[in-house]
Every structure is written in structure tokens, then in C-alpha cells.
Amino acid sequence: MWSLSRGPTLSHAVDSVPAMSRTELDWLEDRPDWLRGLHEGGALDERGVTWLDEAASTEATASLRSGYAGEDSLTRSPEDARVRMFITEAEGKIPVATGPSVTDLYGIETPAYWLAEPGLSGRLWLAPSRDFHPFAWIPVGATEQAAVAALEHYFPSPDLTRLELPRELRVFIGYRHEIGDMHDLERAMTFNRMLGFGSWCSGHLDNPWPETVPEGTGMLALTAFQHNTASVHDPGRPWSQTWRTKHSGSYFTLEVHQRDLFVLSVRYRPSPYLEAMERSNAHNETRLPLDLPPDVAVAMEGLAWADVPDLEADLAAAEDPDEIAGLLRVLAALWDGDFDKTTALRGWAAHPSTVVHGALWDAALQYNLQFLCDEMLLAGTSEQLTGMCTRVLQIGGFPEQMKHQDAYPDQAGTEPYEWDEDGEDEEEDE
């Protein structure tokens, strides 16, 4: 079994390559010319890639299979169906190299795997870690330039900010009474191997965690930072918890809307590896954007979701007021932040059903949409809502207490925790 802590880091590998003897690929008798070229070129070696001998290749296959099928998992039992899927997907793809690694918050390294697919249309594949699902492995081509480009895209794992993650995917993942509360979701995400350790709440637009915690940092310090700094909630925004995906550095955010709706928002940098997402979509019967980084698709395993185009089509076709109201509640959450779509809610104020007005009222209240309250009054909605909207006018707008509620009101601290350079726990008083 490959030890996660043994994978070479990029800087370490660059320093040490000249002194290492390179493993030959003679054991792979029918290796194609492009693989010989990659091996002999040395460009991958310089960037932390280590070539495997036959025994190590066999071991790597077992590790990849186990990473997907759970044969060595502490949290779930191995599944025969997943083993069979792995065998199908991995057939003809032979591990030939590992490295470099991504390093997590605790300094633990996770190496990448490179697989060669010989044959006429053969090429090199990248599994950024053993936990990467085989149908999301990345076909990188058969040239040194393409392999280096893939390597530099993923290693070291990019520490991107919100500004560098221009795309957003938003999907509805369920109601609180269906999928549990935020605590349940957080526990599930803790075991999600595509997400880094250390999450943060809506009080931070960007990751407040350091790249790696100072050496010797204890659990008390980590907990203090999580509670007092990372978990700070901004009541002006929907309650949210965000994780960074390990490989693409995307922001994977769970949002709570209207106290009952869960939305998954993913901010990402467009991935150039469209074929990987095509394969992932085909396997999972999904239609995620092709420029979505494949590690996000792997992280979404286990979630069921409805996307905006589907829900908008349902709304366009809906006639039953209860169905329209339900869809408007969910879409108002998904449209949060989309100016054009949110302002278009105004058009529904003229609907004759009070249940639809109720959904609009909830959206106006939750998202401070005064224009919607105005429109409901002008459209002459139900007597009850007219009274409620009038009261909003009388008190000068939606009150502060209608802001988004904190899902952890007893946990988020108000005083920031700062890392002590010596690794000692210390809370800073303001």
C-alpha cells in the first residue's frame, strides 16, 4: 500500500531528482513510443513525478481501486458494484508513475497517479489522487507538453481567491426536513475526500485558513480557530459553510435559505479538461457544466440535486398555484445574487393565488426585496399580505432581525483567533 506521507512534494522532488536513479519501464513490454518519449524526456521527473516498476504499478492499481471501492475505508464497507465499475473503467489503463502531491492543512501529502493507456489511440491519464473516481480521471494526451500542462494545472493545488474563481454552479440539494440539518451535512462533508480540512462560514469571502497549520498545532488551537474565526457568520448573507476542493481549489459551499432550503454553490475556475466531465456526466447520468473541475463532480457524489434550467422549465409549465409557490421559493434561493432573475420576481405579484403571494412575501422578507413588497401592494394582493406589506412600510422597511439566521448561534465566536507563531494556543482580545 502506498503511504500518503511518502509522496514527494514538488520542491523536494526538484531538489532530489539529479541524485535519484530513475525506474525504467522495461516491464511494460508493449509501451508505445509516446510513453517512451515521456519517460526519456525527463520533464515530468523534474516536476516531482516518480516512475513505477511493475510491482509498484500493481500496488498502485490496488490503491486506486481501494480508493474508489472502499476496500480499506474506515467509514464504509467495500462495495462489489463499485469494484466492478472500477475494473470496467480502469481496464487497459496501467499505472506508470506517481506524484507530485497535494498537501492538506495538516501537511499530509496525497500523491497523484499517472496511467498509460497503450494502443492505437492510447494516451496518458491523470488521477489527481487515489480517491478520484475512475470515470473522472483526466485524459491528458500523449505529449510531454500536454502532460506538463496538466501537472502544472493541478500541482501545487492552486490557492485561488474568489476573484480567481469566476464561474458559479448553483443547485438545490433538498429541504431540511428531507436531508437533515446543517450539522448532518457538515458531518457528511467531513468524510468527503475531495474537500480539504477546515471550512469557513459566510463572514469570510475567502479561505481564512493558512495553507498548512503551524507545526505542532494542537486540536484545541484548531477548534478555537474554527469556532472563533472561521465560523463567523455574516447575518447579511445566507448562512453558509464552505470547503476548498483539494485539487482544483474550487469553493464548495452549502447555503441555508429561508431556514429550510439547502443550496450548493460551487465557485470555480473553468477547467480545460472537458472530456473528463463528459465521462463523469455519462457515468453519473448528470449534466454538470463541462468546464466544471472534475474533483467537484466527485465531491458531489451522494447528493441529489435539481438545477436551475430544470426548475425554471418546471415553473414555466406549472399551473397549480401550490406548485408555482414551491418552485418560486426554491428558485428565489437559487437566484440569490442574480439581479436580473431576482428582479423578475416582480412579475409574479399579479398572480391571483394567495399561496403564490406567500412565496413572494417570504422571498421579499428573506432577501430584503422592498421592490417586491411595493409591487404586491400596488397589484392589490390578498388582504392579509396587504396588511403585512403596509406594516413593513410603516416601520420603514424590513427589520434587521429578518436577516439570515446563524445555523450555529451558540458556536460562532465574535473574537478572532490568531495563530501563534510558536504554535501555542492563544486567543486575541479585541
Binding site: 447579511g236 439581479f339 431576482t342 428582479t343 430584503n368 411595493d374 400596488l378 416601520i395 439570515h404
Partner: protein, 190 residues
């Protein structure tokens, strides 16, 4: 009252996509992407030149979009000209005309836009006239907007007297009128 910023309001329904396209075609560096907060706008910002920044502000509460330009002064310059050419802005004349309309939707749309421009047009006598029209509008929802946004017009010396004059006329909004007069008095006393 003056402002160092050039500021325009996008026409209702006019897409902001042209601004994104302009930023991409001119290779403007994006410098801000802040999501909206309960009482604050969403802000997208670009650095157009070394000295000029362009910001798109989206006020969800009132359904208004503003484009603000820092670095060319209130009269604008080459970047402002490129924005004028690419985007569909409401003219000031249109905004005043809407605000003084008897139609409540037009009056609200105009008034919410005018409120985003008060730092630019506070000295224009049409601004206080427009505010007075909204304050005395036949529709309560329009009058409530005038009262709620009193703070944006506090530079007008006649504002407090105008509110006091509404005291005996407002029934449903009497509480809000008193609250706004009290607010102005607190502002006066510092």
C-alpha cells in the same frame, strides 16, 4: 454638493452583460466581486486604467443597477464615453420625469434611481421638487418610500418642514413621519 465620481443608472431590464463584455474586450483587471448583503449592494469592480476604476453596483432592495466610475471626475472621460456607448443608461431628465409621475410604478422607479444619484444631483432644484412630489403622492407605497429614504435627501434645507407639513395628513404612516423628523433633529444636533 459635489462628488468625484461619474455615476449612471441602468435602465430597468437593460442587461449588464455589455459591461462584462467591455471589460473582457478591454482586458480590464477585475478587482472586486462582493456578494450582496441584506442592506448593501452587490459590487463588481474593474481597473480600467492605472487611474480609473469601474464599479457595477446592484441594489437588490430597490431593483436598481448603477455604474460608478472613479478617476475621471463627475463629467467623465474616455472610459465613461465607452460605457455610455456600450450600456443603456437612464438620462437624468427621464429620471426626474418618472419621479414626478402620477403613475406609482414610474414614480417609484424614478425615485429609487434618483436616490442613488443624490450625491450627484443634490444641488439641482429639481431634486427637492421631485422629493416633494413623491412625499405627497396619492399612493401610500410611494409616500412610504420617500419617508424611508429621507436620509438620502437630508442636505435639502426644506426637508424637515416638508415632513412636519405631512404630520397632520398622514394616517397610516404617521409613526414613520415622526421617526424621520426625530432622525433629522438628531442629525441637526450632531
Amino acid at each position: 454638493m459635489s462628488t468625484p465620481y461619474w455615476r449612471r443608472i441602468l435602465r430597468a431590464g437593460a442587461p449588464a452583460a455589455a459591461l462584462h463584455e467591455l471589460a473582457a474586450s478591454q482586458d480590464w483587471q477585475q478587482i472586486a466581486d462582493e456578494p450582496r448583503r441584506h442592506h448593501h449592494s452587490r459590487r463588481l469592480g474593474w481597473k480600467a486604467t492605472e487611474d480609473v476604476e469601474v464599479h457595477l453596483l446592484e441594489f437588490f432592495t430597490h431593483g436598481q443597477r448603477a455604474v460608478v466610475l472613479a478617476g475621471e471626475g463627475p463629467e467623465g472621460g474616455p472610459v465613461a464615453a465607452s460605457l455610455e456607448a456600450a450600456l443603456d443608461f437612464r438620462t437624468l431628465d427621464e429620471i426626474y420625469a418618472d419621479t414626478t409621475s402620477d403613475d406609482p410604478r414610474a414614480a417609484l422607479s424614478g425615485f429609487y434611481a434618483l436616490t442613488e444619484l443624490t450625491s450627484l444631483v443634490g444641488d439641482d432644484p429639481r431634486t427637492s421638487d421631485a422629493y416633494l412630489h413623491v412625499l405627497q403622492h396619492k399612493e401610500m407605497v410611494v409616500r412610504a418610500a420617500a419617508l424611508r429614504l429621507t436620509g438620502a435627501y437630508r442636505a435639502w434645507p426644506g426637508l424637515k418642514d416638508a415632513l412636519i407639513a405631512r404630520r397632520s395628513l398622514e394616517l397610516d404612516l404617521a409613526e414613520l413621519v415622526d421617526e424621520m423628523i426625530e432622525y433629522l433633529e438628531e442629525e441637526e444636533s450632531g
